[in-house]
Symmetry: C2
């Protein structure tokens, strides 16, 4: 194993004392970076994702150019539905499309649940290459989509404001829904363990649409699968769970095997600390739109955010992905403000 020159994020996840919080940004390898745009003009999305050299180059861009404290694999949560046998279309400027939506038991039975070794080998190759190129500069984050969020896409067939088809499926066919969620969970556990074996130092599970669920339905359709994944993977590497919009789940998840919980900007740091009894590392929660504010204001509000969370058991991040229209120097100001933090 490479010795890490910067292991701030791993220390934060262990609850060790740090001189300042680590910082990275969700979607940091993405469309706000001009060098990413250049690659996007030459290669389509799945070429970028499935070519280890391209995925590696894109993953390293924000490390080199913005100075974040962790790299996160350039990939997409929908590689799992794809590996399970579904067609996934990702055209630029449009949301994802999955033309073969899941409706019946036969549809679920037809999905692969274990074939991650071959069909996702490009991910593991990319991770190995990134790990080698990083040469210990910063830790490498692997990731997957949460089962509920993947079910949303697999049943709805596309993005949605309400995911009401996906919810209708869960409410009217709960047994089928649970069998699909379990199948996604099983393959995700294998996938994340393989990512760690290939070089990921920690992993994050993105439950991007969990906030669509009421607290009661989150406990039925999202939480058990997040916990299963965390329990299965936490022995291999620290796990961060990010159930976007599900602030109400903080007490439960803070008692889980996860090392960290991601939160969005709809909850104050103080309340998030109180709901988690100060017992777990929190990650977040800068409003991504605020990166469009003037740089002095970004720096001021980052300082206030760290003051509120505290330096330890904290990973500075946005509350959701960075937006394409953010100027690079604003992204850098966010990162710099964390690095310059004086309590």
């Amino acid at each position: 194993m490479t010795n890490l020159k910067n292991d701030l994020i791993l220390k934060a996840l262990k609850g060790e004392t740090v001189s300042r919080p680590p910082v990275w940004m969700m979607r940091q390898a993405g469309r706000y970076l001009p060098d990413y745009i250049k690659l996007r003009e030459k290669y389509d999305f799945f070429t970028r994702v499935q070519t280890p050299e391209l995925a590696c180059e894109i993953t390293l861009q924000p490390v080199d150019q913005v100075g974040v404290d962790a790299a996160i694999l350039f990939s997409d949560i929908l590689v799992i539905p794809q590996a399970m046998g579904l067609t996934v279309l990702l055209e630029e400027g449009k949301g994802p499309m999955l033309p073969d939506v899941i409706k019946t038991k036969a549809d679920i039975d037809a999905l692969n649940s274990t074939e991650v070794e071959n069909s996702l080998s490009y991910v593991y190759k990319a991770l190995g290459l990134i790990k080698s190129e990083l040469n210990g500069r910063v830790p490498l984050i692997g990731f997957a989509g949460a089962p509920w969020t993947l079910l949303c896409y697999m049943v709805e067939g596309k993005g949605s404001k309400t995911f009401d088809k996906a919810k209708q499926f869960c409410f009217t066919e709960p047994e089928l829904a649970h069998s699909l969620l379990q199948k996604i969970t099983d393959i995700t556990i294998l996938y994340l363990k393989a990512q760690v074996a290939a070089g990921a130092d920690l992993v994050q599970v993105f439950d991007s649409w969990s906030g669509m669920l009421s607290p009661a339905d989150f406990k039925l359709f999202a939480e058990p699968y997040l916990i299963q994944i965390s329990d299965a993977v936490c022995g291999d590497a620290p796990v961060i769970l990010f159930p976007k919009g599900s602030w109400y789940a903080l007490p439960d998840l803070s008692k889980s095997s996860a090392a960290g919980i991601g939160i969005d900007w709809s909850i104050t740091p103080a309340l998030a600390r109180s709901m988690t009894n100060n017992s777990i590392t929190l990650q977040g929660n800068f409003d991504p739109s605020k990166l469009l504010a003037p740089i002095p204001q970004i720096k001021k509000e980052v300082k206030e955010m760290i003051d509120a969370f505290g330096v330890n058991r904290y990973i500075a991040n946005l509350g959701h992905g960075i937006m394409p229209n953010v100027p690079v120097d604003h992204a850098r100001a966010f990162v710099d403000a964390v690095k310059e933090y004086q309590g």
Copy 2:
């Protein structure tokens, strides 16, 4: 004034004891009703809104056909930007479009802030007609969009997942943003008072996009204007504030002059009661997607919802608008379950 045969919602807002909670549904006069669809095929959106006889007919449909305990004026929150002088396009199946977006002080200065008597007279005529047709059967709800939500549309020019242009405007030009918010607030107060004078028994203010804001930004850009409106109108009629997604504002708003607060399904009834210190009437919060569940499940979950909120100081409703794909008998099952409630 007509004597109301059913004044359950007014009793609930006063905190008086009721035999069962009142029930209505946001967007109850809308696309899930076949008779509404028939009118939609004959008349475009603004013809339906601006013709008092059509607005009246549509407003009464859910009272007659679904049995709700209150009528709500058929209209749209964007009639205010329209009355202020902006072009508003509402084509079927598309979101709203406002081609003349607000960017500068001159744009704001050019907006009307008081001309509600003439340009919105069709609303007051509709309210009078509805009031007369209702003949005291149930109370009539007037409404307006909240200043923050209207600013979102006026600056962004259309719907958005993030309203980042609107937020950028607030973050980079806060003085301009506040002058726009104040101008919207002033006209909204006149508008709601005129609605009450024309027959509305209570009014609701819809802050549909307040949940996009962090708690700190909500306090800057949304809350002061909601409070101003409530303070100015509460002497005329009870005011319900519905800041969707802003569960964090419950403690503050429960101490305001509002008679009720609407909540969505992301918060449990128990926590909402606790955050408001049991001191205010709450309205909500059934997940609209759950109306796609089988009828016995709808009825079971409605009963659980009322058990959790309690019968008094409570208005049964959805947590957001009813969706077009809900079968009418499912909507009716929701209403019936409230009416059949036995504690």
